[in-house]
Subunit: 166 residues, 2 copies
């Protein structure tokens, strides 16, 4: 089996946000996709070890923030590679509230969802969310994971479904 | 709600293949993503009306064929916009057998999976598959849905999660 084949799947680059006992929190994600068109539903895969996973289970809601190619790399750095349990990831980062959820004004678009189903795996929860609100914020080209990898020279954190190991 | 926000999610372009009573069949798909890294699992969303959905349920296995930018448009045409129930979509299209599944030799990569879980929605089944085999076939850049839409001028069939309506 040549597992490099899996690197040829295409993804975007997202920050998934929600509330953590009243304060905004979130984490970076790649594994996000639309599941149905009527009604609009979105699935996202989040590692059990991510604090955002627990917070989505607590609140039953999440927002997908779609990052563009010109996003400040500080935003990706802030939301990946560290836990929202230990630090306030929104410290120094402004947020708007859309569809009752914290979203990043620097995002190309936001999609807010309420959880209607989940699927558990050994390491990740797949949250199925029905879209409650959506909108466009910044005019920019949505960043693909391939662009992030090749141009931004970014890597996936260990908790990511797409983590490629050493 | 501005639903155009959902068009900013990033996808690839795939043909999902399986067996239909001994003959190969399949359909085009965009909503494919890796869910976990250990073991490798992949999720795909397939409309209930797609014959491929029934065939995956019958066999418990499927293959993801990752299409490249230089794929013969005839391949996309053959697997989308018509039902494998009525026609043999592989007529005139060669297939290899990898991981006991039919795969397209024109694909950039193939990933074969056995179904380990499903999540039902009103219109689509999300199949969670554990990867059983994977490999690279043609040297090409994986096609993104954005490329398909802008360069190939392709559209999504009505059964697609990403169908944008009229």
């Amino acid at each position: 089996m040549d597992k490099t084949a899996l690197f040829n799947l295409s993804y975007g680059v997202y920050v998934v946000t929600t509330w953590a006992e009243g304060r905004p929190t979130g984490c970076t994600a790649n594994s996000v996709m639309q599941i149905t068109a009527t009604p609009e539903t979105i699935a996202v895969s989040i590692n059990h070890d991510n604090y955002t996973n627990k917070c989505i289970k607590d609140t039953g809601v999440f927002a997908i923030n779609i990052l563009g190619e010109n996003i400040d790399p500080m935003v990706i750095g802030s939301f990946g590679f560290r836990s929202g349990k230990d630090v306030d990831k929104f410290e120094g980062i402004e947020h708007l509230v859309k569809g009752y959820l914290p979203v990043l004004p620097q995002a190309v678009s936001y999609i807010t969802c309420k959880v209607i189903n989940t699927m558990e795996t050994d390491t990740h929860t797949v949250f199925l969310g029905e879209v409650t609100d959506a909108g466009n914020l910044c005019k920019d080209t949505p960043m693909t994971y391939s662009y992030y990898h090749k141009v931004v020279k970014g890597t996936a954190p260990k908790n990511a479904p797409t983590y490629q190991g050493d």
